[in-house]
Each structure stands twice: as C-alpha cells, then as structure tokens.
C-alpha cells in the first residue's frame, strides 16, 4: 500500500525520498514475503519525527503555501462533515447569485445555524466558475441577506473565510463591492445573535473581513489573515515582488502571531501536514471549537451579544496618547 501523501509542498520535499523508501520496502516485503516491518516502522517513525519538526518551525511563507494548497478543504468540504441537513440558499434578491460566496442553513448537533462562506473550487473548471473564491458585491449582499434572516429568526451565524480578496473587476466596481463590504461591517456589528468566524485558508483583506465581524474569531493552524497578500505588499511597499517572503514575516499573518496580537480568539489544530491530510479530523476539530464557543456565547443575552462584539472591535488598535505639554 503506497503511502506517499498527495500534494507535498516544496518544503516537504526532503521527505519524499523517505516515503519512497517506505513504499519500496512495503512492495518488497509483500512480493518477496520477507518481513521488513521493523525497518518500515523505523522509517515511518523517522518520517513522523521529521514532519513534526518541519511543521513546528514553519516560516510564514510556508504557511501561506499550505493555506493556498490546491487540496485544502473548501468551505463546502468542511460543511459536509461539520453539519447535517445543510440546505444551500441562493441569491441576493437583487442582482444575482454569486458562486464565490455560498450560504445556507444547517444543523450543528441538532441546532439550526446559518452558514456563509467563501467557496473556492476543487478543479480549474470549478475555480473559474467560482472565481477562485473571490466574491462580487452580490456575494456579500447574499451573505447579508442570510445573516439578517438569522438575526430575525434568532439563529447563530457561522462564517467561513477563505478568499484571496474580493474580485477585482469592472462589475465589482459598477455594483460597488466597497459599499457591500462596508454595509456588512456595520450590520454585522449590531446583530443580536452569536457570530462565530473561522478562517480556514486565506483571509485576504477587506474581502475576508466583509464576513468577518464576529464575537469569536477562530483560525485553522495553517491559515493566514492579512490586510494585503505578501506578494502585493512586496510589490507596493518594497517595490520588489521578490520580497514576498520578507513581507509575509513583517505582516504577522499566521494564526500564532494573530493570537498574540489579540486579533483572533483561538487557533484550531490541524493534522500534521495540514488540513488536506485529514479533512475529517480537521472538521472534527472545528466542530468541537464551534460547540465550545457557541456554549459560551449562549450565556449572553441578545443585546449583550451585540455589545460584546462592539467592544471587541472597539478595542482594536495600537497607538500612543501624548499628554498635553
């Protein structure tokens, strides 16, 4: 049984040789009927050890490559395992349905919740259809419609963030994606139901924040959240697109850094090698966190939920206040 995992990233390449050896030994032992199990076990242990070490010390740009991995579970992949009875709802009742930002109602252990989330594709064809999860104004307006409905029916809101940003196109400006995002920020601030936000892959700028105002902000261990992509930052600020690695470090985009900065509330563990190595385990970890956080927020009244969220964002900002001379 070949066990080299799919989609190893560049920085995991040193492991390939070891995996190949395991595959080879497994084949030999199977065909030659020789017992090589102790050798295989030793090799597997070595791989496990090396992998742990690799993942314990990831550079921010390496985390970026995991967050953007083509095999990384998408919102709908995770929804399938976390919830039951998911029913997708479509359209902003105004212009169109945006396949880059999905939404619907589902059950979390028997309890109704409203879900909205960016949706990347799992093939090139699907990605073209879903604009690689980069939403247009109608995506944000659909999200708002569903969240308003949740607020009205007293259903908790759970949002999944995984986007490089809002789609930069002519139509997005004609229908003002800026207005759509801004309105979501203002409205999400005052909803009187629990809002839990989880960043599962890329949290790209205003396009991410547009569904990101929550009582609790959670992040998968190898996801990122940033005001600008490392590449964009490098070309604008450093005037050198090759400096993306430096930009990724300066921008503090990893879950660990953002927890330290007080931007997020919790880091959700991923299986070794990243979420795509075990989607089921990832979904279980997310589900456990949702349930824990929801139980905590259940203690707050409707108006306290809004106030709790307001205070959370009101307090963000680092500055100095000089005393008058």
């Amino acid at each position: 049984m070949p066990n080299t995992p799919k989609g190893l990233l560049d920085f995991e390449k040193p492991l390939i040789e070891l995996y190949k050896k395991v595959d080879e030994l497994t084949r030999i032992s199977k065909h030659g009927k020789i017992d090589l199990s102790s050798e295989i076990q030793a090799l597997e242990k070595r791989i496990e050890q090396q992998r742990k070490e690799l993942f314990a010390n990831l550079a921010p740009m390496q985390v970026v490559s995991i967050a953007r991995h083509v095999l990384r579970p998408t919102t709908l992949d995770l929804v399938k395992y976390i919830f039951t009875d998911f029913m997708e709802l479509h359209g902003d009742r105004c212009f169109a349905d945006d396949p880059a930002l999905i939404g619907g109602i589902a059950k979390l252990d028997g309890r109704s919740v409203m879900i909205v989330g960016h949706q990347k594709g799992s093939s090139t064809k699907e990605n073209i259809y879903r604009r690689w999860g980069m939403a247009n104004p109608e995506g944000y307006r659909k999200a708002l419609r569903l969240m308003q409905m949740a607020n009205n029916f007293n259903i908790p809101i759970i949002t999944f963030i995984d986007t490089a940003g809002a789609y930069p196109g002519i139509e997005g400006e004609e229908r003002s994606v800026a207005e759509a995002i801004a309105r979501n920020l203002r409205e999400m601030a005052s909803f009187e139901v629990p809002i839990i936000v989880v960043i599962t892959g890329e949290g790209g700028s205003g396009g991410a924040l547009g569904i990101g105002v929550g009582n609790k902000i959670l992040m998968l261990e190898y996801s990122i959240y940033s005001v600008i992509s490392p590449e964009g930052c490098a070309s604008i600020l450093y005037r050198n697109a090759g400096k993306a690695k430096d930009a990724a470090e300066s921008l503090k985009i990893t879950a660990k850094d953002l927890l330290e900065l007080g931007i997020i509330d919790e880091v959700i563990k991923e299986p070794i090698g990243g979420a795509h190595n075990n989607v089921l385990q990832t979904a279980e970890n997310i589900k456990a966190s949702f349930k824990r956080n929801l139980a905590e927020l259940d203690k707050l009244s409707r108006s306290d939920l809004a106030e709790n969220r307001y205070k959370k964002f009101r307090s963000l900002g680092i500055f100095e206040e000089l005393s008058p001379l």
Partner: protein
C-alpha cells in the same frame, strides 16, 4: 506637538515655508500645470479659485488646513484628539522604517496624523468634523485614524451632532498590517451606533477615496457627496486592469461613474460644498 490652530497662528515666514513645501507636487512656483487639461495656470489664480483649474474644472488635492478654511465657519473649529499618535508597534520596515516614515509625514504635512477631527460650525450649525489629508502617508487608515474617527462619532452621539468626514485616502495603512484592516470594522461599528442614535453621517469623497476607507466609513454615509472627478472605488485600477486584461472604461471609478451607478447622492463642486453641507445639516437636524 502641533495642532491645526497653531498652523493658523504661525508666523508669516513659517507659513510661507510650509506652503512652499505643500506645493511640492505642483511644479514651479508661479505657474502650475493642470494634471488634467495640461494647461498652465498662474498659481495665484489657482489659489483664488480654491485650487480648481479655471480652464477645465479639475479639483487639485487640498491640505487639511485648506479644506478646513473653506469648510468651517471662521474660528469655529475646536480640534480633538490631536495627541493620539501612531506607534511603530510591529517595527515595520519596507523601503524605510515606519517610525521614520511617520516622522517624515509629520514634518512634511505639519500634521500629527492623516485625519484631523473635532467639532465646528458650518453655516452656523454645529457638526462633528473629520478631514483627511492625502499627503500624510497617502491618507492611509491605521490605528490612529480608526481611533480618531471612532471618537469623533462617539462624541457626536454624546453631543447630538451630525458627523461630516472629508475622505482622502489610498486605503489601509499597510505598515500596521492586520491592525489597519481591523479599523474598517471598528469605524463601521461606530457608525452603527450613530445610526441607532438617528444622527446623520455625511461622507464627502475627495480624490482619492479607495480600498479600506471606501469599504468602511466612506461608503456608509447617509448622504454621500463627491467632488467632481474624484477617484472612488475598492480595487486599484491597475490591479483590475492586470486581473481582467482589458482596458477600463472611460471615467471608471470616477465620481461621475459612481453617480451613474447609483452609489453616491451627488457631485458637488468645491465652491458650493460648504453651502450644500450647511443645507444638508439643516434638512436633517432641524426637522420640524
């Protein structure tokens, strides 16, 4: 630390020196070339015409002090929170350290930050007022701008005043990374409170009002006004061009484009701005 009032009370020499520094983006001292029609304008004529090209109507950018002078009733402006200043909390270095960039911006603009906030009278009516200045790190939205906008809104709620903000910004301040993004949520949340308090927010978009600022308070005005020709949008035009690999339509992301697509209430020429603001406040605040 200097405040706006100090700027006005400065000695004549000092004033002239600063005025000269502000003119750096306008080539030559006596004659100015219009960015739009390329015509040459006698700089005194340009000043007299509120920095609007007498030939083609192009609206040059204004400094905060210039904007304040033509907006607030004389002597009515009281500045708040001028001592809230930025901090290089990430030790962010791009082509220069952020701390140095801040020093330079302060020196060049004579301001402490990209927004000046306070209260003023416009046509005799009290209002909370914020004025952004593009010359301070591109009018970028960082922790301080976010905090000052939020306090401006909170104070206006307390004093039952409308809020007027003149926007001029390229977007979020990248040197403050994620914290700058969070200011979009913070200021928008404050506007939710203003809405509950039934106080109007008048957002004035000047050239440019982009990205993080447009996708937060700028597009949340009960009334949104724009100066003619101002660039107002989310994604930068070059980014869009690179993504879709098509030429952008004429007037794309200009005030006229937004009016046509239904995203602003009106385009107001600079010379009429104060009157329109006064009228708007009156219509909303003196309801019976």
């Amino acid at each position: 630390m200097k405040s706006i009032q100090d700027w006005f009370s400065k000695k004549k020499e000092e004033k002239e020196l600063e005025a000269k520094a502000e003119k750096l983006d306008i080539p030559g001292n006596l004659w100015v070339k219009c960015f739009k029609c390329k015509g040459t304008i006698y700089s005194k004529d340009l000043e007299a015409n509120l920095k609007v090209c007498p030939k083609c109507g192009y609206h040059f950018k204004l400094t905060c002090a210039e904007r304040l002078k033509i907006t607030a009733d004389e002597g009515s402006f009281v500045e708040h929170d001028n001592l809230v200043v930025s901090k290089d909390f990430l030790k962010f270095i791009d082509t220069m350290p952020y701390s140095k960039r801040l020093e330079e911006a302060k020196r060049k603009s004579g301001l402490n930050e990209a927004i000046t906030t306070g209260e003023a009278k416009i046509g005799g009516l009290k209002t909370g007022l914020g004025i952004m200045d593009f010359s301070f790190i591109g009018g970028s939205l960082g922790s301080v701008v976010g905090e000052k906008v939020t306090r401006l809104i909170e104070r206006s709620i307390e004093n039952k005043m409308p809020v007027i903000i003149f926007n001029a910004s390229g977007g979020a301040r990248m040197q403050e990374a994620i914290m700058s993004l969070m200011q979009m949520a913070k200021t928008s949340a404050a506007l939710a409170k203003l809405k509950t308090a039934r106080l109007p927010f008048i957002s004035v978009c000047t050239d440019p009002t982009m990205a993080g600022v447009s996708a937060s308070y700028a597009m949340l005005g009960d009334i949104i006004i724009s100066e003619p020709g101002a660039l107002v949008g989310f994604a930068g035009p070059r980014v869009i061009e690179q993504t879709i690999k098509q030429k952008l339509p004429e007037n794309f992301q200009r005030a006229e484009f937004l009016l046509e697509h239904g995203f602003i209430d009106m385009i107001v020429e600079r010379k009429n701005m104060k009157d329109i603001l006064a009228k708007t406040i009156k219509l909303f605040m003196e309801r019976t």
